[in-house]
């Protein structure tokens, strides 16, 4: 099973080009989609989730045209949107049961078991009788995760799933996702590099609506191995470094600026080589489109 995205483009009516000729092949397993805010991740996710159409290009799921056969895709889909709400006056149990019915779980007893099991898994079981309007942000997010998993979806799309989760809930979420069957495509869009490095066997980076990188995280790190150097500098020296070197990220540490650069050879000048990590891969790619220096 695979999801094939070909030459997908989308321009919104306000002129923003959200997707620019994106082609991707997403195989079974966890697929991480990394990108900064406004990169077009959510547009891509929503398009796959049948919520909107692209201007050009196509998406196919095992040969099935997603944009033309929305109904068929929806039958296999589990989707956690980035922004969503719930009926405030309905309690979690009823709502999840209702959603299960929407997703084709038609046997009542099965639905009941499923609902309580999922609520336990996302640690909401004890809150199941509460109106969803009283849920905190984190609880709502967990409910969102639960509903995305209802009904054995074979295509799961989770958009910024860990936003608003505290570290322990995030771990729980990682565990939950990792339990998902082999025969499933899980697309996880995030701007948190850790999510991808923890979970994903495949990944892509998009920025400004364009695909910057596609492959295994491991390969991405491998390609930067031995090319990352760091140095602590004064803030006002930054500009001169930027002129000469390919600065990919900066970080303030105790008042000094920790500079990370990418370079094929040792730049000397006090720079120290460091092992590359996935964050470097991320910054390395997006720095081609946007200025990563944040001061």
């Amino acid at each position: 099973m695979e999801l094939k995205i070909q030459n997908l483009s989308k321009t919104y009516s306000n002129g923003v080009q959200a997707l620019n000729n994106i082609s991707l092949i997403i195989p079974q397993g966890m697929f991480g989609l990394l990108g900064p805010n406004g990169a077009g991740k959510s547009t891509l996710m929503r398009t796959i989730a049948t919520l909107q159409d692209a201007d050009t290009g196509s998406i196919s799921l095992d040969g099935l045209d997603v944009l033309e056969n929305k109904q068929a895709v929806r039958e296999r889909l589990g989707y956690l949107p980035q922004d969503f709400g719930l009926y405030p006056r309905i309690n979690a149990e009823v709502m999840l049961d209702h959603i299960a019915q929407m997703k084709g779980v038609s046997t009542k007893s099965e639905r009941k078991d499923l609902v309580s099991s999922l609520l336990q898994k996302v640690n909401l079981y004890q809150h199941r009788k509460k109106g969803l309007g009283t849920y905190s942000g984190g609880m709502r997010q967990r409910f969102g995760i639960a509903q995305a998993l209802v009904g054995n979806p074979s295509l799961i799309i989770v958009d910024e799933p860990t936003a608003g989760l505290d570290p322990s809930e995030r771990n729980r979420f990682y565990n939950l996702l990792s339990e998902i069957g082999e025969n499933t495509i899980v697309i996880l869009s995030t701007h948190i590099v850790e999510d991808v490095s923890t979970l994903c066997s495949q990944m892509a980076i998009i920025c400004g609506g364009e695909l910057m990188m596609e492959g295994k995280p491991h390969d991405g790190i491998g390609s930067l191995e031995g090319k990352i150097y760091t140095k602590a500098i004064k803030k006002d020296e930054l500009d001169s470094y930027k002129q000469d070197l390919q600065v990919i990220s900066t970080k303030l540490v105790e008042g000094e600026l920790n500079l990370r650069i990418e370079s094929d050879s040792h730049p000397g000048n006090g720079f120290e080589p460091v092992p590359a990590d996935l964050e470097d891969v991320y910054f390395s790619h997006i720095s081609k489109k946007v200025d990563p220096i944040t001061l």
Partner: protein
């Protein structure tokens, strides 16, 4: 600091378009109202009369509650909502500066908005006459004070109250929803208060507790004559002044309380989440169910989902606190309406189902409308507005199922709303001990009439929201649509139901006739609108937007691609069905029953007068004999008449043609020796506007016949009139009441002879529009020759010989005036033959219904026997004894007092409540179902109007049928005023003076209101031409005259009057001046002033007791000192008053012991002194010795005189130390 915040707030407000939108809206609405002349002003009142402006301002300020909540709710909430409040801690702003700045800034904006209304009214009264939109005559002078004073005294205080209320609400609740609900609550509470106020005796309380002063204003202005409304500023005194001060003070209390409560720390505290995480409650040990489940989208998946979605939609709505509170409001009103019902003279009706069902249309419907309009929008936008759509839209559920579930959810709510009145109705009936539940009435009305109506409402709102796709714009558009419909109907007089979405003909349930003939048009109209609604719903669902992108272009593209899809095709099918039913309705309404707009009807009246007025006084023969054959087919709603008539030329000129006309008959023919005579239809009308295709053949309702031979003076001619009333199809209004399934009541059945001036337009404003001269009097003067030899009720005849053979369906009894001769069955039909063996006016009727008959007999004082027959609907025997008592008491007393009774029988016949009157034909009185048959007189103090009205109709056998009024000014008073007076005397004899008080107060109130709404001019009583004059004023002044000149004198005068004119078969006939002559003869010189004041002038007293003090001399001797004020005023025809110059008038002074109740449980007043004193104009002090302890005392305590403030006549007696 205050200044900065204040100006910031002002700037903010004045940069917002909303401020200008509200301003313009108010200006626009008021400009249109005034300029187009759509104000409630009666014809002689200026559209910009100061009192009228005051009333408009109050109404604006009521609707301004919504604006006030929007403007005053936000200023503080803004900082809470945008969380900018937390910054305020860090700025050096004082609480006072912040609070006051925000408040006053917003309040000034609110004041500015209200000036839009003032501007509109002012511009309207320039534009209206300036452009000729409305006659310049209808506008008064532009005095600045007229526009400003009511604004200052009414609108501004109302705004202040509302502003303080909403500002305080935000401070105390910190929740914007409290503003919305606050607005609704205030509005509902206000409706409720007004509703309750109708029935409260204590009008002072009502006037004072009304926060917006509407009741106080109405009360203050209720008797103002056109002259006073035009010329005087509203007086802010008495209760109105107290009201204004009270509510400004209450506003101040809110304001101060809000200020005291407000603090930055309280107001901007962050909300603590209620939910705490309990991390320990893990799933350890608990079994985790499988997440691996069977998933299937096969077969009936979509159907199951539809049910599930509908269920959750209903759950969403019924759990909504707003839904619950609005519904609660509706139910409260429903309970009240059902419980109190409609009262007549404060007497309630039995809670029969057919009457209850009508009451849900009073207030409940408003709440239903609000719920349906708002929650349809909420439902449709719920997923988007909660953000759930991003999840929901990815489910494998078809679009049609999504929309379908929303519709079904709302349909269920409709069902619920339609069912509630059944539950409430049954509960109210049970609690009141009434167990004759009419379940079929409940079900038909709720589920076949209301339910489709509600469904149609939501279908349109669905379509609007689907198209607009924005919640607020959708709400605005749907409310706007309904408003347009309502405004077009009520202001522009459009009422062609076929073009007004969801409008149907009106209907009335009747106990006698059930839903009757209203069922058919309702069925067709409901089918028509339901089909059209389904078309709207299905068609516009192609604009349904799913997913995250919803710009109009995308939706339009999608919609275009769906123009031919299964669901749109179904919608087209419904459109075709709607058009088919619509054309059926159209042909029925516009062609079969020629629909005319109100403008067209006016125009036709004008044309009638212009083209035919020349025939008004032309010589015509008079009918002397009628032998009527009437065949009634109640189930077909057809009636066929065949009358043999004898005509005599009683004039002294030859007559060669006869004019006949009838608005009632479907057709008529004049036959001579079995030949139908040729005729001419002289009227030319424009083609009816709504006959879009070829005009149908006009109904020829005015015919000019050449007589077969010229009638010389004294000649007699026998002719036949064949006519029919056929109810084919149905009419736009749904209302035709004469021939019905059960309870037919047809007056006459024959055309009238000659031109009838009563058909002319009466309003001078409208007459001017059609270039007709103004019309001061409807009838000729008292001494007019034509007038004196013509009868008022039937100008085509003097007294006639009458007999009738009437047939009807088996199971019904058919009745006409006269004595039954024979009753038989033939060809499956029932026949009745009646002969009236003494002459009567040509004023008869035909009645047929399934009756139970109550029979009795009585002996008159002169020994003659009279049969009493009461024909009533089975089960309606609640008040038989009252009807019977009135007949028996009246026959005895009237024949003793006024002269013998002319018939040997007296009948009372119930007819369906399509009209609420009783009418007296010779020995036959049809009496409406709703006018006493169902009244509940369990309260001993209740005014027994069943007795009173029956007595009134019986008295008409003397005053109306023995005394036959002529065709001159004011002559109707010798029928109506005398009947009303006689009934009053009879009721007083039975129930006592005290029981009459309530009735007399109503009569006075009705008279004073009647003259204040006079649209032309108030005539002096002897020329009376309005019902408020001949009923209300008539009974008051005759009752008082009896008190002045004594019972014997007035009875003698009336008996002499009766003896002079009773049952005259030849002219001259009596008029009002004849009665006056007899009354004058029995009035002593010292009291002639009173007779003249009441009959030939418009006289008002201003009587008042300033104080009453008592000094106790001994246990049996008390001295009461009264300070009274009395003034007499004369008014002209528009109500301009001038003080009368007089020495002194005789007026009652009374002293009363404490009230108690008599042996029947009725309240009783106990006069210990009552005598007439001659009082000079102005103030006077009177000392009276009484021998009991006095409780109350005053001037004219029984309100016999016409006094604009009757309540200040009697005061409690204070002890003088």
């Amino acid at each position: 600091m205050f200044w900065n915040i204040f100006t910031f707030e002002l700037n903010y407000r004045f940069r917002r378009p909303a401020t200008y939108i509200y301003f313009t809206l108010l200006a626009f609405v008021s400009l249109i109202l005034i300029a187009s002349g759509s104000t409630p002003a009666s014809e002689k009142v200026y559209h910009n009369a100061p009192v009228l402006i005051a009333e408009l301002y109050i109404l604006f300020s009521l609707f301004g509650i919504m604006i006030a909540s929007a403007v005053m709710g936000v200023p503080l909430y803004r900082d809470l909502e945008h969380k900018t409040g937390t910054f305020l801690f860090s700025y050096p702003i004082s609480k006072t500066a912040y609070f006051m700045g925000r408040f006053w800034g917003s309040f000034v904006a609110l004041v500015f908005i209200s000036l839009g209304g003032v501007l509109g009214v002012w511009l309207g009264s320039i534009v209206g006459p300036g452009t000729g939109w409305t006659e310049a005559l209808r506008y008064g002078p532009h005095s600045f004070a007229n526009y400003l004073q009511p604004w200052l005294t009414l609108w501004l205080p109302n705004m202040w109250f509302a502003a303080a209320l909403f500002f305080a609400l935000i401070v105390f609740t910190r929740n914007i929803k409290s503003i919305y609900s606050g607005g609704i609550v205030v509005f509902i509470a206000y409706l409720l208060a007004n509703f309750l106020a109708q029935d409260i005796e204590n009008k002072d309380l009502v006037q004072i507790i009304d926060p917006f002063g509407l009741n106080s204003l109405n009360y203050q202005t209720r008797y103002l004559t056109p002259f006073e409304q035009n010329n005087f500023l509203l007086k802010i005194d008495g209760n109105l002044l107290i009201n204004r001060i009270l509510w400004v003070a209450v506003g101040l209390v809110f304001f101060i309380a809000a200020y005291a409560r407000f603090s930055f720390t309280f107001f901007f505290q962050t909300k603590q989440g209620k939910v705490k995480k309990t991390k320990d409650d893990r799933l350890d040990g608990k079994s985790v169910g499988a997440t691996d489940v069977k998933v299937s989208f096969a077969d009936n998946f979509q159907w199951k989902v539809l049910k599930a979605l509908t269920r959750i939609e209903v759950r969403n709505i019924v759990k909504d606190v707003y839904f619950r509170s609005i519904l609660l409001g509706g139910v409260i009103f429903l309970v009240l309406d059902f419980w109190l019902g409609n009262t007549i003279y404060s007497v309630p009706s039995q809670p029969v189902t057919s009457v209850l069902m009508e009451f849900k249309g009073f207030d409940y419907i408003i709440f239903v409308f609000i719920i349906l309009v708002f929650f349809t929008g909420e439902t449709l936008h719920r997923d988007k507005s909660t953000g759930y759509s991003t999840i929901n839209d990815t489910f494998p559920v078809k679009d049609s199922v999504v929309i379908g579930s929303k519709f079904l959810g709302m349909a269920f709510i409709c069902f619920l709303l339609a069912s509630i009145p059944i539950v409430v109705g049954l509960a109210v009936q049970t609690l009141k001990g009434y167990f004759n539940y009419h379940l079929s009435t409940y079900f038909v009305d709720s589920y076949l009439i209301s339910f489709p109506d509600y469904l149609q409402m939501i279908m349109l709102v669905f379509a609007v929201h689907l198209l607009v796709n924005n919640k607020f714009a959708g709400h605005a558009a749907s409310i706007g649509l309904w408003l347009v419909l309502i405004i077009l109907r009520s202001f522009a007089n459009y009422d062609f139901n076929l073009f007004f979405y969801s409008y149907k003909p009106n209907y009335t349930w009747s106990e006698m006739n059930g839903l009757g003939h209203f069922g058919e048009p309702l069925f067709w109209f409901n089918s028509y609108w339901t089909a059209f609604g389904l078309f709207l719903l299905l068609f516009f669902s192609i604009f349904f937007s799913r997913g995250s992108e919803s710009n109009f272009k995308t939706r339009l593209r999608r919609a275009k691609s769906m123009l031919i899809s299964p669901q749109t095709v179904v919608s087209y099918v419904f459109l075709v069905i709607a058009l088919a039913i619509g054309s059926f309705i159209y042909s029925n309404v516009a062609y079969t029953n020629t629909y005319l707009t109100s403008g067209e009807r006016q125009e036709r009246s004008a044309e009638y007068e212009k083209q035919l007025k020349k025939y008004e006084f032309m010589a015509q023969p008079k009918i002397t004999k009628v032998s009527l054959k009437a065949d009634l087919y109640p189930m077909e709603r057809d009636a066929y008449f065949d009358a043999e008539i004898e005509l005599v030329n009683k004039t002294n000129e030859p007559i060669d043609s006869i004019h006949m006309q009838s608005n009632q008959l479907s057709q008529f023919q004049l036959l001579y020796k079995n030949d139908t005579l040729p005729y001419r239809f002289p009227l030319k009308f424009k083609k009816p506007k709504y006959q879009f295709f070829k005009a149908s053949k006009p109904q020829e309702w005015y015919k000019v016949y050449a007589l077969p031979k010229t009638m010389q003076p004294g000649d007699t001619l026998n002719m036949r009139i064949v006519s029919s009333i056929l109810n084919n199809g149905f009419v736009n209004s749904g209302f035709t009441r004469e021939v019905v399934y059960n309870g037919t009541f047809v007056g006459g059945g024959m055309p009238e002879i000659g031109y009838n001036a009563q058909n002319e337009l009466s309003s001078d404003e409208i007459r001017r529009k059609y270039d007709l001269p103004e019309k001061d009097f409807e009838l000729p003067p008292h001494d007019d020759d034509y007038g004196r030899r013509t009868l008022l009720f039937a100008d085509e005849a003097d007294l006639i010989q009458f007999e009738a053979v009437i047939s009807t369906m088996p199971g019904q009894i058919a009745i006409a005036p006269g004595y039954i001769q024979k009753e038989w069955e033939e060809d499956g039909r029932k026949y009745y033959h009646y002969i009236q063996d003494t002459p009567i006016q040509s004023f008869f009727n035909v009645v047929s219904a399934d009756y139970t008959v109550y029979d009795d007999e009585m002996k008159l004082p002169n020994g003659e026997k009279v049969n009493i027959e009461i024909f009533y609907h089975t089960g309606h025997d609640y008040n038989l004894d009252r009807f019977e008592a009135a007949y028996k008491d009246g026959l005895k007393y009237f024949s003793e007092t006024y002269g013998s009774f002319q018939f040997r029988q007296m009948r009372l016949l119930e007819f369906p409540r399509y009209a609420g009157f009783a009418q007296s034909f010779p020995n036959t009185v049809p009496f409406s179902e709703s006018f006493g048959w169902l009244a509940n007189f369990s309260d001993p103090n209740a005014f027994d109007y069943a007795y009173f009205v029956t007595a009134h109709e019986l008295a008409h056998q003397w005053w109306g049928h023995q005394i036959t009024p002529n065709y001159t000014r004011g002559s109707n008073l010798i029928s109506e005023s005398l009947a009303e007076y006689s009934a009053l005397v009879l009721s007083e004899r039975k129930y006592g003076k005290d029981n009459m008080k309530r009735f007399l107060k109503d009569e006075l109130d009705d008279y004073l209101r009647g003259r204040s709404n006079e649209s032309k001019k108030e005539n002096i009583f002897i020329n009376c031409n309005r019902s408020y004059q001949w009923y209300n004023k008539g009974s008051l002044i005759l009752y008082a005259l009896r008190d002045y000149i004594g019972e014997e004198a007035i009875d003698s005068a009336m008996m002499n009057f009766r003896n002079e004119f009773a049952l005259r078969e030849e002219p001259p006939y009596p008029g009002s001046a004849d009665l006056y002559r007899h009354l004058k003869a029995y009035t002593p010189d010292s009291l002639k002033y009173y007779l003249e004041d009441t009959w030939k002038k418009i006289t008002l007293y201003s009587n008042k007791t300033e104080e009453a003090k008592v000094k106790k001399i001994s246990d049996e001797e008390y001295v009461v000192t009264l300070k009274v004020k009395s003034n007499k005023l004369y008014a002209d025809s528009l109500g301009m008053e001038t003080p009368a110059l007089y020495e002194g008038d005789y007026i009652d002074i009374g002293v009363f012991a404490a009230d108690d109740t008599d042996e029947n449980g009725r309240d009783r007043t106990n006069p210990i002194y009552l005598a007439k004193h001659k009082l000079k104009p102005g103030e006077e002090t009177i000392q009276i010795k009484v021998n009991q302890e006095p409780a109350k005392a005053g001037i004219d305590p029984y309100n016999k005189l016409i006094d604009r403030i009757p309540d200040d006549n009697v005061v409690d007696v204070e002890t003088d130390d």
